[in-house]
């Protein structure tokens, strides 16, 4: 009797379509990815109904964390050849008689996370090996009238990039006097238009319609 041959099925699946799909997805995500810079402190922004999006470039952000530390960040300009960040740091260094090496400036340009570092600690902050060591310097930028470094950061950012927009990212639990202080510093440097970073609240809109009726 001839043996009945059971068709031998290979356990291998053809993965080509899967790989195709994956590479497509990967390319998509890689191209659309904008890296989220590491936040030195967690900030819970309040809600609003505003649907305006944050601008891509020409922004300087003042972050107010819930523990009353103030952070600053400025972007590198709409084009990479502009190199706004190192220029601002250089100006800042000149004011405090600190000379930053080209390596330090380049490092500062590349790492665009918000910083809350006293300018006197800045060299050590830039030389820090990992984020844990870096976090030790994040004590908040001094905003007292005796040593108002925040005002200088704002001033130099505006000098280097006149079209910079001021963004304020505050934690909801921060008390008003600190917010007022930050607003005053900005206003002293002739910034009168602010954008407050908020997250979108959808329910509110429905509420108004009900209230209207």
């Amino acid at each position: 009797m001839p043996k009945i041959k059971i068709p031998h099925k290979s356990p291998h699946v053809d993965m080509t379509p899967m790989v195709d799909l994956f590479s497509l997805l990967l390319t998509f995500f890689m191209l659309t990815a904008t890296m989220r810079p590491a936040e030195p402190a967690k900030v819970d922004v309040p809600f609003s109904i505003s649907e305006k999006k944050t601008p891509d470039a020409n922004i300087m952000t003042v972050t107010i964390a819930s523990d009353n530390r103030v952070f600053f960040n400025v972007d590198n300009g709409p084009d990479t050849i502009l190199h706004f960040r190192p220029k601002i740091l250089e100006e800042m260094g000149k004011r405090y008689n600190i000379v930053f090496t080209p390596e330090e400036l380049r490092y500062f340009e590349k790492n665009s996370a918000p910083f809350g570092v006293n300018i006197k600690d800045f060299k050590a902050y830039l030389a820090a090996k990992d984020s844990k060591e870096r976090d030790r310097f994040q004590k908040g930028i001094p905003i007292d009238s005796t040593d108002n470094q925040m005002a200088l950061w704002v001033l130099f950012s505006r000098e280097v990039n006149p079209s910079v927009n001021a963004l304020i990212k505050g934690d909801g639990s921060v008390e008003y006097p600190l917010v007022k202080k930050v607003l005053d510093i900005l206003q002293d440097k002739n910034v009168n238009r602010f954008s407050l970073i908020t997250s979108l609240e959808k329910v509110e809109v429905v509420d108004t319609k009900d209230a209207k009726k």
């Binding site: 994956f22 109904i49 909801g172 008390e175 908020t198």
Partner: protein, 220 residues
């Protein structure tokens, strides 16, 4: 290499090129791709945070003399943001002689919004009507010119309230955003963020310190 030589010996004279399977094992590749996709998906900032614009009046320089703008008391509405999500409001001008009772309310839809809406009904209706016309197609204008048209409506408005927003020192930043948000919800044409003066500070502390006496006036 050794394998090939051995094979040749077995088959003798006939030289047949060994047929390699064209299928490559793609599992490691898929693994890697899965990993990368996951990484990129998690690090991508998908939704950008939203921003709310606010313009504050320019500061008056020390040696500069500017006449304070004249505003009608009847149109002024003072809002004082207090601690614990409380909002106080009173119309008109503060009077040091007689403490004007502060009205206490909150940030809910029936709270401060109702107060503002009552005073801003005319303008709010106008804006609402205008937007409705655009949606239904009665008016055919573009989105950006709609914004400027609404701005023009607000500019021309002369019946709505002039809102002075003040903050007690214990107020939270959250409420700062909330109250400005309220302004845009109700469509207040003129509002300004100013400092709390000493009279009003006393009024708030009065309202906070003696809730028993301030409650009945708030309910009125």
């Amino acid at each position: 290499m050794a394998e090939i030589i051995q094979e040749d010996k077995h088959k003798g004279g006939k030289k047949k090129p060994k047929k390699h399977s064209t299928a490559i094992d793609m599992t490691p590749m898929v693994d890697l791709m899965c990993l990368l996709i996951t990484f990129f998906m998690l690090t991508t900032a998908f939704s950008k945070p939203k921003v709310m614009e606010i313009v504050l009046p320019e500061k008056i320089k020390k040696n500069e003399k500017v006449e304070p703008p004249k505003i009608a008391d009847s149109r002024t509405l003072n809002i004082i943001v207090g601690p614990n999500d409380k909002v106080y409001w009173y119309p008109g001008k503060p009077d040091p002689a007689a403490l004007i009772p502060l009205q206490e309310t909150n940030f809910s839809a029936t709270g401060i919004r109702q107060v503002l809406l009552d005073r801003n009904r005319a303008l709010f209706k106008k804006i609402e009507q205008f937007q409705q016309d655009v949606i239904t197609g009665k008016l055919n204008i573009k989105q950006d010119s709609l914004q400027s048209a609404i701005r023009q409506l607000k500019k021309d408005d002369d019946t709505g309230p002039i809102v002075l927003i003040k903050f007690y020192k214990k107020a939270k930043y959250k409420n700062f955003v909330d109250i400005i948000d309220e302004m845009s919800i109700v469509g207040i044409a003129r509002y300004i963020v100013t400092d709390l003066n000493w009279i009003e500070e006393g009024m708030v502390e009065h309202a906070l310190g003696m809730p028993a006496t301030s409650q009945p006036t708030a309910k009125k």
